[in-house]
């Protein structure tokens, strides 16, 4: 089993005046789990819907081994998708929901039962979806994705709503699917949720890529938290030295530098400091730093990363 390679090339979507997705470019390879990360509203779902032919891109393309979703001869056997937990008719049983899809894909009912079995939904599948918990809907969505035994899996927030046991199970399951050579793309707004599952990350904020590459591009990044009574002067001094800083409650966060360097800049500019603290550079901190501008003024990093090694601060 070798999954297709997903190629996203210049994908852009404009809703009226709002640029929801801005010139995304990334590749999702088979054999690994790729996390598609960003805060809520960053454009993840819109991107996935464009990838699957549900939303028409303003420009750009998204392909599976060079073919758009709509051009696939057997879409459910090529790409398995779980987009949102609510896409079921409440009056239809879980099993019948899958049977409807199986008929459209020319798959036998045996595949339906196998998919339900895999996700532990054999019992619940006989009941109407209206009575399902969020976790059961997630499992049913995953069953639907697995229906055609596809080489590619595209899952939107698959861990959301699962209980701890379910989370442990799906992590192992996704890793196993990738180990078989499948292409696995999962989205999440929480890095910690997928940190133990993903090999590669594509991080977006405000519709633009802020970082992509192996998970460790997020790790071991020195950061410094610095503050001065005259914070504006400090920010100006850092900017003059070519460093971008992000305002936080406790001070200014600066990525990719050590404390000594920041101290020297402040000293040279004649700005007295009241705080100069090396940060652990924890992966979650970095993630927040990359994406927190979502609700702030200007993005800390606007560099549409073209590779794993692209520095965030230009």
């Amino acid at each position: 089993m070798t999954g297709s390679t997903i190629e996203v090339n210049g994908l852009t979507k404009r809703f009226g005046d709002r640029l929801a997705v801005d010139d995304l470019r990334f590749t999702v390879r088979p054999g690994v789990v790729t996390g598609f990360l960003g805060p809520n509203g960053a454009g993840k779902t819109t991107t996935l819907r464009m990838l699957l032919g549900l939303v028409r891109p303003t420009s750009g393309t998204a392909t599976f081994d060079g073919r758009a979703y709509r051009e696939l001869e057997a879409p459910l056997r090529t790409v398995g998708t779980a987009l949102e937990a609510a896409s079921f008719h409440p009056g239809r049983s879980g099993r019948d929901h899958l049977r409807v899809l199986a008929a459209a894909a020319g798959l036998p009912d045996a595949r339906v039962d196998a998919a339900l079995e895999t996700t532990g939904m054999t019992e619940a599948g006989r009941r109407r979806v209206g009575g399902y918990s969020l976790g059961m809907r997630q499992r049913l969505g995953l069953s639907a994705a697995l229906l055609g035994d596809p080489g590619v899996l595209v899952l939107d927030e698959p861990i959301n709503g699962l209980d701890p046991e379910g989370i442990r199970w799906i992590r192992g399951f996704l890793r196993a699917l990738a180990a078989e050579g499948r292409t696995v793309l999962i989205s999440s707004h929480l890095l910690t949720e997928v940190q133990q599952t993903v090999d590669e990350v594509v991080i977006i904020s405000r519709g633009r890529i802020v970082r992509q590459g192996p998970l460790d591009v997020l790790e071991a990044r020195p950061a410094v938290l610095v503050d001065a009574p005259d914070r504006a002067a400090l920010a100006a001094a850092l900017a003059a030295a070519g460093l971008e800083s992000t305002a936080r409650e406790a001070g200014l966060a600066v990525l990719d530098v050590d404390a000594e360097h920041v101290g020297a800049i402040a000293h040279a500019a004649g700005v007295p400091l009241r705080l100069l603290q090396p940060e652990s550079g924890g992966i979650e901190d970095v993630f927040f730093q990359l994406t927190e501008s979502e609700y702030g003024a200007e993005p800390a990093a606007t560099d549409a990363g073209t590779g794993a090694t692209t520095a965030v601060t230009a």
């Binding site: 549900l54 028409r56 696939l72 008719h89 409440p90 409807v100 008929a103």
Partner: protein, 276 residues
């Protein structure tokens, strides 16, 4: 296309909607047919004076009574397949199941055509259920009053076939309406308002002026009645304008044209939108 049709058929048969509407149809048509058969039958049999029944001394002839009673399936019941067809589209919008539908069948025209095909079948099946009620209860009532229910006459079964066909085409019109007006509540309100108020008023008004009556023949309800060839509304037609109704096949084509035009308009507008 075959697969999309199979999928649509499963969608129809795996929720309780179809038999819920089926029961409503059977109850409604059965009651109406029994009432007509009982009232007009009693008048024709001389059990009630025609004047007492408010019919101005002109009872409906025994010979046409059975077809009048059996055509209540479409005369009062056509709104049921129309709603079934409408819901086949709007329910997918409402429950956001267009997402899995289009993931499984990315060609959206294929999905729309499959819905039309399945709904013609489902509407005809509703028609058969309604005919069982109308011919069973209404025909039984006529027989009890000593009036021949005409089950042995070929024309009766030819009428039944046209009734089933009309019910199928009405369901297809519903698919067109639903694909054009995707909001479920709005679509159902439009269907009820048009079939119960707007069109009856238009047809009644058109009957008083010849040129309007010419156009009125092409209203969907009038075309549907022409296809069946018998309806309580044509029986009690009022007004001075005398315009020949459409032939049954013309009525069928006009009604089918409504379905196709509405579906095509829906396809050109709402059906192509982003599914979010």
């Amino acid at each position: 296309m075959i697969r999309a049709i199979a999928s649509e058929w499963r969608k129809l048969t795996t929720t309780r909607m179809w038999w819920g509407l089926g029961i409503v149809l059977i109850g409604y048509v059965g009651f109406t047919a029994a009432m007509f058969a009982g009232l007009f039958g009693a008048v024709a049999a001389g059990l009630i004076g025609a004047d007492a029944a408010g019919m101005n001394g002109s009872p409906i002839p025994e010979a046409v009574l059975p077809s009048l009673v059996y055509s209540t399936v479409t005369a009062v019941g056509y709104v049921i397949p129309l709603i079934l067809g409408t819901l086949s589209v709007t329910a997918e919008v409402r429950h956001r199941t267009l997402t899995p539908t289009f993931l499984a069948t990315p060609s959206r025209p294929t999905v729309l055509v499959a819905k039309l095909v399945v709904m013609v079948g489902a509407g005809a099946a509703l028609g058969v259920a309604g005919l069982v009620a109308a011919m069973g209860i209404g025909g039984g009532t006529l027989a009890a009053l000593g009036i021949d229910p005409q089950f042995a006459v070929a024309d009766t079964w030819w009428l039944a076939a046209r009734v089933a066909l009309a019910m199928g085409v009405w369901a297809a019109v519903g698919v067109g309406v639903g694909s054009l007006i995707q909001n479920q509540i709005a679509a159902v309100v439009v269907v009820i308002a048009f079939t119960q108020f707007v069109e009856p008023i238009l047809r009644l008004g058109a009957a008083f002026w010849e040129p309007a009556a010419q156009v009125g023949r092409f209203l969907p309800g009038a075309a549907g009645d022409a296809l069946v060839g018998s309806s309580i509304y044509t029986m009690v037609a009022v007004g001075p304008a005398t315009v020949e109704a459409l032939a049954w096949w013309q009525g069928g084509l006009v009604l089918a044209a409504y379905a196709v035009v509405a579906a095509a308009a829906g396809w050109a507008t709402a059906w192509r939108r982003d599914v979010t």
